[in-house]
């Protein structure tokens, strides 16, 4: 992972041509919805953005729990402390809009990161993985690996996470397109913590392990626990497509227990997101004809990229990610901003 950071960072310095040598007074707060390993890369991303683009600050601030009120309280105190741009993983797809509107009134630009808020919103953009699309692609990969037929189980995260519903629907869509030979036999949600995930996934394996042919996981913790369960069982019959880059999942891919994983790009989100906030505070605006993508929640979406890796390229996953981040950064200002 380190190499990814430094390569992107040095590339950015080259790209920027030292134009950011002067320092701006932009102080970005990167606020996830709660503690979760997925967001850990934001911290380094913020630090690198400060170094490479000359921001005043770009700090990673985590609410101690997954709770909208705590997140709001944290954001309010950060603004009190002088942060003047906020990148937030919305604690709720609509509930977070209220505070974003209030921040906008106070002249503070915001953007939704890694997950979107529903329109109408004052967030300048939603920059994240197209989670629905990622789940869809992952399921497609799984169906291919299963030879186009069989029974699938889907394990996913917090029901309160706005992404979860999108993922469930996307998996259903991919299954429908398979033409009737594939069937979802169970969806287990709300298992984005290790203890309940371990209990429920193992209970599922015990009861239905013999019937199921494939597993798709669309959240970090279920991916880790399911990969571990398959490894412990020594089962290579059941195909699994995971998500993200947890060591356990990557090891299981190398050992052949997991077919592959859908990588996301949290580092790029934090890095490019901080850059964009600085640009907007510097007077840039988003172009009217920017090449936005549309999702169910918003039509101001920018895809931070997703890529499938399996055993053939798992060792080079860092390169795969680097490619995406560089690609986005290279064209970001030209495509999206009017400066």
């Amino acid at each position: 992972m380190k190499s990814l950071f430094s390569i992107v960072a040095s590339a950015a310095v080259v790209l920027s041509g030292g134009a950011f040598a002067g320092s701006s007074d932009t102080k970005v707060a990167l606020v996830p919805g709660g503690p979760h390993p997925y967001f850990a890369a934001w911290e380094k991303a913020g630090q690198d953005a400060v170094k490479d683009f000359g921001l005043g600050k770009a700090d990673y601030k985590v609410p101690a729990e997954w709770d909208l009120s705590q997140q709001n309280e944290l954001i309010e105190s950060l603004v009190g402390k002088g942060y003047n741009a906020v990148l937030v993983f919305p604690g709720d797809a609509v509930g977070t809009n209220k505070i974003l509107g209030e921040l906008d009134d106070a002249g503070i630009p915001t953007a939704a990161l890694a997950g979107c808020v529903e329109q109408p919103t004052k967030a300048k953009m939603c920059f994240g993985t197209d989670t629905g699309h990622s789940a869809y692609l992952g399921t497609k990969q799984l169906i291919d690996a299963m030879g186009g037929k069989g029974k699938i189980a889907h394990f996913t995260g917090f029901l309160v996470d706005p992404n979860t519903t999108l993922r469930i629907k996307a998996v259903e869509k991919a299954v429908e397109e398979s033409g009737g030979d594939v069937e979802i036999i169970q969806v287990i949600a709300d298992i984005d913590a290790y203890e309940p995930a371990d209990e429920k996934i193992n209970a599922f394996m015990a009861a239905q392990g013999a019937e199921v042919d494939g597993i798709v996981t669309t959240a970090w913790v279920p991916a880790v626990v399911a990969a571990q369960a398959l490894t412990n069982m020594g089962d290579k019959r059941i195909k699994m497509v995971g998500i993200d880059h947890d060591e356990v999942v990557l090891e299981a891919i190398k050992a052949g227990f997991v077919h592959g994983t859908m990588l996301q790009n949290p580092y790029g989100q934090g890095y490019i997101g901080s850059y964009a906030m600085d640009k907007i505070r510097g007077g840039c605006t988003f172009k009217a004809n920017a090449p936005w993508k549309s999702t169910a929640q918003t039509d101001q979406f920018i895809d931070s990229g997703t890529v499938f890796v399996d055993v053939t390229d798992v060792d080079n996953y860092v390169d795969a990610m680097r490619g995406i981040s560089l690609e986005i950064l290279k064209t970001f200002e030209g495509d999206f901003l009017d400066c």
Partner: protein, 323 residues
């Protein structure tokens, strides 16, 4: 009286057997060796968690910080091994000491201040959880030594019995001996029955309270370590979901919250009931939200049944007295 006590857990045993057979009749996979293995794994640490609460219920108090102690111990245990490269046995030892220290603090402050254990353990819940989050910044420890991982996955020979359940069974047995056959255990029950009369017969209340809390801390710590072995990582949110089941099992087992009446075997059967039901809900693909409602209803039913039985006992006693 002895026969009535026997009935106490005998009824629960029947519930366990009947519900097990009923589920197996509909879903034969329930009795598959892998499912039995999973069942016993869940039972293993739930058993310890329930006992950690039970011993505090015995003295008529409650310990809200059982989960927080378990979580703090879990991350200390894995952190000691990963960051400080400490060998497994030493790490286990230090972790148990940390758990017992947490329990000691609970007991000491409660005993010396006379403030209700509820409020003290509510405060220490946030203190222990706060230390946990402060140390880990909510990031799990991943590099658990192979020996620990292997221990978490090992089975006894070719049986579906997980190695993990051996320690809880031994501890349950020791707890039974402690509560029923030792003086300290009987003092605890006497204290739970009536603080005044216990003090009158010369039982030191602070000694009883502190001992109970230290044991509770030790058990919570053991549960935390077992969960790390099982999950093969030390994540800060271990223990977050322990509160409800920790009370459910002893209460289903007939424990009275006012203190003085707990039963180790009945508590263990209470754990089995909770585990079997949670698993049945997954097997039958029942709405996950039902699990919560179910636990709540179980607790209410259990207290109602206990109440009813008390009334009957009371009535019996009156009849005997009048004769």
């Amino acid at each position: 009286m002895a026969t009535l006590f026997k009935k106490d857990w005998f009824g629960l045993l029947i519930v366990v057997v009947v519900s097990g057979l009923a589920i197996a009749a509909v879903k034969p996979a329930f009795l598959s060796s892998f499912n039995l293995y999973v069942l016993m794994v869940s039972t293993s640490y739930m058993l310890i968690i329930a006992l950690a609460q039970m011993i505090i219920i015995a003295i008529g108090q409650m310990n809200l910080s059982v989960g927080a102690i378990g979580g703090l111990v879990a991350i200390s245990f894995s952190g000691l091994m990963e960051v400080h490269q400490i060998s497994v046995p030493v790490a286990v030892l230090i972790s148990l000491v940390i758990g017992m220290t947490c329990g000691f603090l609970n007991g000491y402050i409660t005993a010396k201040s006379g403030i209700s254990a509820f409020i003290i353990t509510l405060a220490t819940l946030y203190i222990f959880k706060g230390i946990n989050l402060g140390i880990t910044e909510a990031e799990p420890f991943y590099n658990i030594p192979e020996t620990v991982k292997n221990f978490g996955n090992a089975k006894l020979g070719n049986t579906p019995i997980p190695f993990l359940i051996v320690i809880p069974i031994i501890i349950t047995f020791l707890m039974w001996v402690f509560m029923n056959r030792t003086e300290t255990g009987r003092h605890m029950l006497a204290y739970g029955n009536s603080v005044q009369s216990a003090e009158l017969i010369g039982i030191s209340s602070s000694k009883v309270v502190i001992t109970a809390h230290v044991i509770s801390g030790f058990l919570a710590a053991t549960a935390g370590i077992l969960v790390v072995c099982r999950l093969q990582l030390g994540t800060p949110n271990i223990g977050d979901s322990w509160l409800l089941p920790s009370f459910a099992a002893p209460v289903i087992g007939g424990a009275i919250l006012a203190g003085g009446k707990v039963d180790v075997i009945a508590t263990a059967l209470g754990v089995l009931i909770v585990v079997i039901i949670s698993q049945a809900l997954v097997i039958f693909k029942i709405d996950p939200f039902f699990v919560q409602i179910f636990l709540g209803v179980m607790i209410l039913l259990a207290v109602l049944v206990n109440r009813y039985r008390e009334y009957k006992q009371e009535a019996l006693r009156k009849i005997f007295n009048s004769e």
